[in-house]
């Protein structure tokens, strides 16, 4: 019901945005928090999604390693990820549920293990993405937004972690396109105020009616390491069962 209501609201917002001439739309001073929530809604708009991802880990010297994963997501707060390749991580599974409940399945130990929120800011399987990044994304719940600037194409927001949230970064700077409310670039600043990571979403287009980036790249400026994530076999709103987001499914080999 909550999902249905938020989709209705999103639909109304989209209709209103499209109905307003661009000049009138710009005339309304943007509420940064609302813009952020809107971006969340766009990212998480599909009722559910399945996609295969190729994670290309690029070393400073240009050498590459590749991981392949399959991801299932339902709504904006449940996600299952399974590794397909390479062999040393094959069948490892990760389940992210609401309220920071996360499980990891390690085939070698034949066990699904509950993992605590301390891993959220750690590297996910050697990539430049964290467990937090690989979980579901709802920036508006975790960050307070301020408008840093407004370019002809983007709202640029400064995001500060809300009190009580455990984040490794002191601040995020996010570029959200005005036309689609799709976040295309995020800069991550450490506690010393230094820029440490940049995430870019590229090749953004509508797939089955939903804005989707076919490529996402995370660049760690400290290590000069990059992870490029390429999407394929994307499928939206296929009516995924809740059973796909359980420990039972996590350890099931497909």
């Amino acid at each position: 019901m909550r999902v249905a209501r938020s989709l209705t609201a999103l639909g109304i917002l989209l209709i209103l945005t499209q109905a307003l001439p661009p000049s009138e739309a710009r005339a309304i001073p943007p509420d940064p928090q609302a813009v952020l929530a809107r971006a969340d809604s766009v990212i998480n708009a599909p009722l559910d999604q399945i996609q295969d991802m190729e994670l290309i880990l690029i070393e400073k010297n240009g050498s590459e390693r590749i991981r392949e994963i399959r991801m299932w997501q339902k709504g904006d707060d449940t996600r299952t990820v399974k590794f397909l390749e390479p062999a040393d991580v094959r069948n490892i599974g990760f389940l992210s549920l609401p309220d920071d409940v996360m499980y990891l399945y390690m085939p070698a130990f034949k066990k699904v293990r509950r993992i605590a929120a301390h891993v959220k800011n750690q590297s996910f399987a050697g990539t430049d993405f964290t467990y937090d990044d690989m979980g579901t994304i709802k920036y508006a719940d975790d960050y307070d937004a301020k408008l840093a600037e407004e370019t002809p194409d983007c709202f640029v927001l400064l995001l500060s972690p809300r009190p009580g949230t455990e984040k490794d970064y002191a601040q995020l700077k996010m570029w959200i396109t005005k036309g689609t409310f799709y976040p295309i670039k995020t800069e991550y600043y450490d506690r010393g105020g230094s820029l440490c990571k940049i995430m870019e979403r590229r090749e953004v287009s509508q797939i089955q009616g939903y804005w989707t980036a076919a490529e996402v790249e995370m660049h760690d400026l400290k290590t000069q390491h990059r992870t490029r994530m390429r999407l394929s076999n994307v499928e939206f709103d296929s009516g995924l069962s809740d059973d796909m987001f359980t420990a039972r499914f996590l350890q099931r080999r497909q």
Binding site: R65, I66, P86, D88, V101, A116, S123, G126, Q254
Partner: protein
């Protein structure tokens, strides 16, 4: 052995056409070398091919099998005949071990029920590697440093899912004893023999009095119910079966000369029931877990036969029929820089039977990954304290620093040392002269 190898080839060949479409063959190649630090004695020489066959012929069925084909140990050739024979095991020891082979049937009878039938590993418990409630499969202590390794057993596992509740039931018809470490390490798991004053042990021998091969004697049954409660995952379990570690029921002393006796022991596997509980969750962002198993053993009375020494017979209680509890409490945390810490307090190790035999252990480890996870440094250690009232009198301290390098996908090179310091009488202290260095190469495919 030739027949076994042929069978394995047949299985792989049989599976190959179908796995290409619906599953896969994988596994790893591993080489594990260990040598004693003080004199360079080769303690371990293992070269293993782990082969996994994985197939899902339909969405409702899944097949899995895991085999180890390995060369192990050093040449045992004693005569030239050993080198000439067709069977090369003495000059080149190797074996084939079926670790698991089972079928999963998903949504069996009802969509909420999954069955797993066949030789399988059923891992219960939420603690890290040392799990008091993990008693469905016998311990595989061949490698004493591979904590938590168990053998597969031929079992039926039924798992029923209803909402966030999972009910598991296991039936294992046969009894399988734990495997024990090779002689160099076996001392850690054995109790020192108490002989009459001035008498020394000569030749030691034993025999296992295995349970009679009937379901009543060999079968084990277990159930578990698990569900989340207040942001913690909880489970309760019950098992009735047998201890996988033997207890002496008869010890016969036979004089060899005026100072020494040969000792022959008969060992049995006592029945016991185990009531278990575990939880896992978090306190703020720190991962926490706790696990307890209360054992209810049948009593084992040991007859000490010293008739040949003209000292008659004595009966002592080796395992009283009083319950005892093993438990683990632990937690883990990752600091902002990526330093991971894991610590556990353990009361009672797998081989410790009886309330008076349980030692305390504190195990902790620090892990740090470097260079985009291509290097991992681990500094782990453990302290064994048999008697909490006098920790300074008896203790063992184990240090296990290790470095792992991942030069490319699927490959891993690990090296490290295990060193032990001790005082008094402890389990791991008996390995104090076995300080070792090791290097392991592993490639997954």
């Amino acid at each position: 052995m030739g027949t076994k190898a042929a069978l394995l080839c047949f299985l792989v060949g049989l599976a190959a056409p179908s796995v290409s479409a619906q599953g896969q063959i994988g596994g790893h190649v591993l080489t594990d070398w260990r040598a004693r630090l003080d004199d360079g004695k080769v303690l371990w020489n293992e070269n293993r091919l782990e082969l996994e066959i994985d197939a899902s012929p339909t969405s409702k069925a899944h097949l899995f099998a895991q085999f180890w084909i390995r060369g192990f140990g050093v040449s045992e050739a004693a005569t030239t005949q050993d080198l000439m024979g067709l069977d090369k095991r003495k000059s080149n020891p190797w074996d084939l071990l079926p670790r698991e082979a089972y079928v999963d049937l998903y949504g069996f009878f009802t969509p909420d029920l999954d069955l797993r039938i066949g030789r399988q590993r059923i891992a219960w418990g939420t603690a890290d590697k040392i799990n008091p409630t993990d008693n469905l499969n016998p311990d595989d202590l061949e490698d004493i440093w591979d904590f938590g390794r168990h053998l597969g057993t031929s079992s039926v596992l039924a798992q029923y899912y209803r909402g966030d509740v999972t009910i598991s039931a296991v039936f294992t018809p046969g009894f399988t004893p734990a495997t024990l470490p090779p002689a160099d390490w076996a001392a850690a798991l054995s109790t020192p023999l108490a002989l009459p004053g001035g008498v020394e042990a000569g030749k030691l021998s034993d025999e296992l009095d295995m349970p009679v091969n009937t379901l009543r004697e060999t079968a084990s049954v277990a159930v578990k119910i698990a569900r989340p409660v207040l942001n913690y995952d909880l489970s309760l379990s019950y098992l009735t079966g047998r201890s996988d570690f033997p207890v002496p029921i008869r010890v016969v002393l036979t004089p060899v000369d005026s100072n020494s006796v040969d000792v022959h022991s008969t060992l049995v596997y006592p029945r016991m029931s185990v009531l278990g509980a575990d939880l896992s969750g978090a306190i703020r962002t720190v991962g926490v877990w706790a696990e307890i198993a209360v054992f209810f053993p049948e009593a084992v009375y040991t007859t000490l036969d010293m008739s040949a020494l003209e000292l008659g017979q004595q009966e002592i209680v080796s395992l009283p029929d009083e319950h005892f509890a093993r438990y683990v409490v632990g937690g883990d945390y990752t600091f902002a820089g990526g330093l991971y810490i894991n610590a556990q307090f353990i009361h009672g190790f797998a081989h410790e039977l009886g309330r008076d035999c349980l030692h305390n252990y504190v195990v902790a480890g620090l892990e740090k990954k470097l260079r985009n996870d291509t290097i991992q440094i681990t500094v782990a250690g453990a302290v064994e304290i048999p008697d909490s009232a006098h920790p300074g009198d008896n203790y063992a301290i184990i240090g296990m620093p290790e470095i792992a390098y991942y030069p490319s996908d699927n490959s891993e090179i690990t090296c490290g040392v295990r060193v032990i310091g001790e005082k008094g009488q402890t389990s791991f202290g008996q390995l104090a002269e076995m300080d070792e260095g090791y290097i392991v190469f592993r490639y997954a495919f």
